[in-house]
């Protein structure tokens, strides 16, 4: 196959991100554009769908078709688009608040439904856009104005939940590792069905402590498995900083899709004749 020669810059728009200097999301954008260049599809054949949050601003920073929807509903928009237009490469992108809190129910059902698309969550364990409230992945003792002394709640475990809900590809990366992120995004897009990638992406403004992540993350020492039980055991027992592709499933992707429309509704009308 003749893959056209594309550069990461072909997938960048001319809009300047609103992100703070040092925000991990810049790196996610870079890895995404590199991955799309490697995949070789034209920007117009890729759609990037998001919700609301700092991270969810990403579609407009690409040169792809983008949809910046409401808070928490990126997965639903993306699923509708992919079923309606199976010819497109569809990515949904969220923050941890967008994807696991307000959009949590869609996350479960998107994993179950297994539409052939890729879901990237830029997890900074905080609500960045609304200026520093705890999210479902925030540590229980993280102090903030809204939850003084911490929430006292045990954090949501995205990878375990993705796996338990039926996601067909599960991976974790750190935004600062551009090469690994790029490679994993490529693999996620290529893998049939619903692929979930959690990218640890520091919020340097409200979680300056997350600058340390670069020293904490480590590559998983094992190969990806297609056995969900093994994957579950590994993910349940890791320290949250294990990176790499952790599970590649073999489920058939969601079946329904829209084809070219047959314009004749007359046969449908005949059903009502007596």
């Amino acid at each position: 196959m003749n893959i056209p020669n594309r550069k990461a810059s072909d997938f960048k728009s001319d809009i300047d991100p609103i992100w703070c200097p040092g925000c991990g999301d810049y790196h996610v954008l870079l890895s995404l554009t590199k991955a799309l260049a490697q995949l070789g599809r034209a920007p117009e054949d890729v759609a990037v769908v998001s919700g609301i949050g700092c991270s969810s601003r990403i579609p407009a920073y690409t040169s792809c078709y983008g949809f910046h929807g409401v808070h928490g509903r990126a997965l639903a928009v993306a699923a509708g688009l992919k079923v309606a237009r199976p010819d497109l490469t569809v990515l949904a992108m969220s923050g941890d608040g967008d994807g696991f809190s307000i959009g949590g129910n869609h996350f479960l059902h998107a994993c179950r439904r297994n539409v052939d698309m890729t879901y990237i969550v830029m997890d900074n364990r905080v609500y960045g856009m609304t200026k520093g409230q705890p999210s479902p992945t925030t540590e229980p003792d993280w102090d903030s104005a809204l939850s003084p002394g911490g929430t006292g709640l045990s954090p949501f475990h995205p990878l375990v939940i993705a796996l338990a809900s039926g996601a067909n590809f599960v991976a974790r990366e750190f935004s600062g590792n551009i090469k690994a992120c790029t490679a994993t995004i490529v693999e996620a897009i290529r893998h049939p069905g619903f692929s979930f990638v959690e990218i640890l992406s520091p919020c340097v403004t409200f979680r300056p402590d997350e600058r340390e992540w670069k020293t904490q993350v480590h590559k998983a020492v094992v190969e990806a498995t297609d056995d969900p039980a093994r994957a579950a055991r590994r993910i349940m027992t890791d320290d949250g900083f294990n990176t790499g592709i952790l599970y590649r499933g073999r489920r058939e992707p969601y079946f329904a899709s829209v084809a070219e429309r047959l314009d004749d509704v007359a046969p449908l009308e005949r059903a009502f004749e007596i």
């Binding site: 117009e44 759609a47 929807g69």
Partner: protein
């Protein structure tokens, strides 16, 4: 038994109810009779009344037949056949028998309820159970069908044909048994010494259709180009989805059952962004959940249709009963200023047109369109003449790659509608956004962009030519019945009855709720002295909506109330009669 020997007078409309416990087959009997009546050239309407129990509660088929098109049930029944009286106390008050009407029941099923014993009607006992037992595999509901057929003068050929087709799937012996039951029912009715023959239908060249409002709205949307639907089940809208799922599959489309209404509305937004005409169907609780994303569709200019089959609210309300009380949320429920379109079918048959028109308007204007149907029309099955074909030239304004200038998705144009690029089109890439945006689609918080885009979105909706579809204006007189949507049929019957008495009344009914058709309504109300608002809403949402948009220098009366007690033609007529006498 109150048998009269005088020759029966021919009726212009006959209503009957067949009641029994769920599973007794009352609804099957009713629908066989309805279809056979259609084959014999009559028109009709059938409602099912089911109790709140999912299975095993009471079930009733309520049918009205006429040689002329009918659009609503009558409030009183000429014939009531009870297969049994179980749970009768729960529903009998909703099925009053007309003066001189006929109640047919099995003595083995016990005494009829007191309401009927004390009413001015004849009670005839027929051993339905015994008759059924005398035929191998026989069932009481088919005996009941035979009884009613005989009383109305429904020809044997047509009924036989329908029975053969419907029961044919179960084998030849099932058909034979069915026919034997019908014959037994007919024979029993001949012994009554009375009947209620319906005026024969005038031969009509048109092909007759048997369809519900929920099916018709789905079919209309398909005529309008529908390719994708996503939805979450909810009474009384589920039938729209159950109709569309296989129908869409047949034309290459798809329906996705979503995890909730937040998902379903966003799925159709995604599919429509991809270029596929899309809809969802729901009822009040679901519409409430969809409001935020309806605003997204308005701001991102993504065409979608949301069908709300209204039920009695607020909250979970009465899921199986009708009301016209979602007007406020449909019109005013958005946060921010979000121009959009709200339409309402004027009856069961009009669901077809309105469904198609809604798709046309959504696609043409790149806007959300909410269609306010309701349980009373959505779940009524009617016999109608095949509706005319309506041709709309439905096309989204397409992006055409221009070499020199960069693409502006939200360009301010003369008609306010901007060319819409679809994923896959090179050079058309943009990010659809609910954030205030520039003409290119880039997020903006400038007051200039806010104003320019708001003006544009309002302009496209207000300057569009909705043609003559805004509503209807029928009849003459300085008294006006002013209504909307599903009550149009009842209002029209009232108007016709009044005309027969020499009272001329105008009927004005709105199909276009938003944008408000001021000019057309003002014209329709010209010369009016008295206006009677008719609506199925406790607070009079429709009247408030009209008042918000125009002066009403008339004497005003209102006939409005909550569901489930539907406003009928008799009530409307007597309100006008009363007013006319003052």
């Amino acid at each position: 038994m109150n048998a009269s020997s005088s020759p029966p007078t021919v009726a212009r409309s006959v209503s009957f109810a067949i009641v029994g416990t769920g599973g007794a087959g009352a609804v099957t009997a009713g629908s066989l009779l309805l279809e056979a009546a259609g084959k014999a050239g009559w028109y009709g309407v059938m409602n099912r009344s089911v109790g709140p129990q999912i299975r095993g509660g009471e079930a009733a088929a309520l049918v009205r037949l006429s040689p002329r098109p009918v659009s609503c049930m009558s409030k009183r029944f000429d014939i009531l056949v009870a297969i049994d009286w179980k749970n009768a106390d729960r529903f009998i008050h909703a099925m009053p028998v007309a003066g001189g009407g006929l109640v047919i029941c099995d003595p083995a099923a016990g005494e009829p309820p007191r309401e009927l014993r004390e009413a001015d009607c004849a009670i005839v006992e027929v051993p339905l159970g015994e008759l059924a037992k005398s035929i191998e595999g026989g069932r009481e509901n088919m005996i009941a069908a035979g009884l009613v057929a005989e009383l109305l003068g429904l020809p044997d050929d047509e009924l036989g044909e329908v029975v053969a087709r419907r029961l044919g799937r179960k084998g030849a012996s099932a058909v034979e048994t069915g026919l034997a039951c019908i014959a037994a029912g007919r024979a029993a009715a001949q012994g009554f010494g009375r009947s209620l023959p319906l005026e024969p239908a005038a031969p009509s060249g048109a092909r007759r259709w048997l369809i519900t409002g929920n099916e018709a709205i789905g079919l209309g949307a398909l005529r309008g180009g529908l390719q994708f639907a996503a939805a979450y089940p909810i009474t009384p809208a589920t039938d729209v989805l159950e109709y569309l799922a296989p129908a869409l599959a047949k034309i290459g489309g798809a329906l996705v059952q979503a995890e909730d209404e937040l998902a379903s509305i966003n799925m159709i937004i995604g599919a429509s962004f991809g270029g596929r005409p899309s809809l969802t169907a729901t009822s009040g609780p679901g519409l409430s959940l969809m409001m935020e994303s309806l605003g997204l569709a308005a701001a991102s200019e993504t065409p979608i249709v949301v069908i709300d089959v209204m039920r009695a609210g607020p909250s979970t309300g009465i899921a199986t009963k009708s009301e016209q009380s979602d007007l406020n949320i449909a019109v005013y429920g958005f946060h921010g200023d979000a121009p959009h379109v709200v339409l309402a079918p004027l009856g069961v048959a009009d669901c077809l047109f309105t469904g198609q028109w809604a798709m046309h308007v959504a696609e043409t204007l790149q806007t959300p369109v909410i269609v306010l149907s309701d349980q009373s029309i959505g779940q009524s099955r009617v016999l109608i003449d095949r509706p005319a074909d309506v041709a709309f030239l439905t096309r989204r304004k397409a992006y055409e790659p221009a070499v020199q200038s960069e693409y502006r998705r939200y360009a301010v144009t003369a008609d306010g509608v901007s060319p819409m690029a679809l994923p896959g089109q090179p050079g058309g890439q943009y990010t659809a956004d609910g954030l205030t945006h520039t003409e290119r689609g880039a997020p903006s918080s400038s007051r200039h962009d806010q104003k320019a885009q708001m003006d544009k979105r309002l302009h496209k909706i207000e300057s569009f030519d909705y043609g003559d579809h805004w509503g209807i204006d029928e009849g003459q007189g300085d008294m006006v019945i002013l209504t909307w949507g599903s009550l149009t049929g009842a209002a029209r019957e009232a108007q016709e009855a009044l005309a027969g008495e020499g009272i001329g009344v105008r009927l004005v009914s709105l199909r276009q709720i938003l944008p408000f058709p001021h000019a057309r309504l003002a014209e329709a109300l010209e010369g009016a002295r008295r206006v009677l608002f008719v609506e199925q809403s406790h607070s009079g949402q429709f009247q408030r909506h009209v008042r918000a948009h125009m002066e009403l220098p008339f004497e005003i009366r209102s006939l409005n109330r909550e569901g489930p007690d539907l406003i009928g033609p008799d009530e409307i007529a007597s309100e006008i009669r009363d007013w006319n006498s003052k």
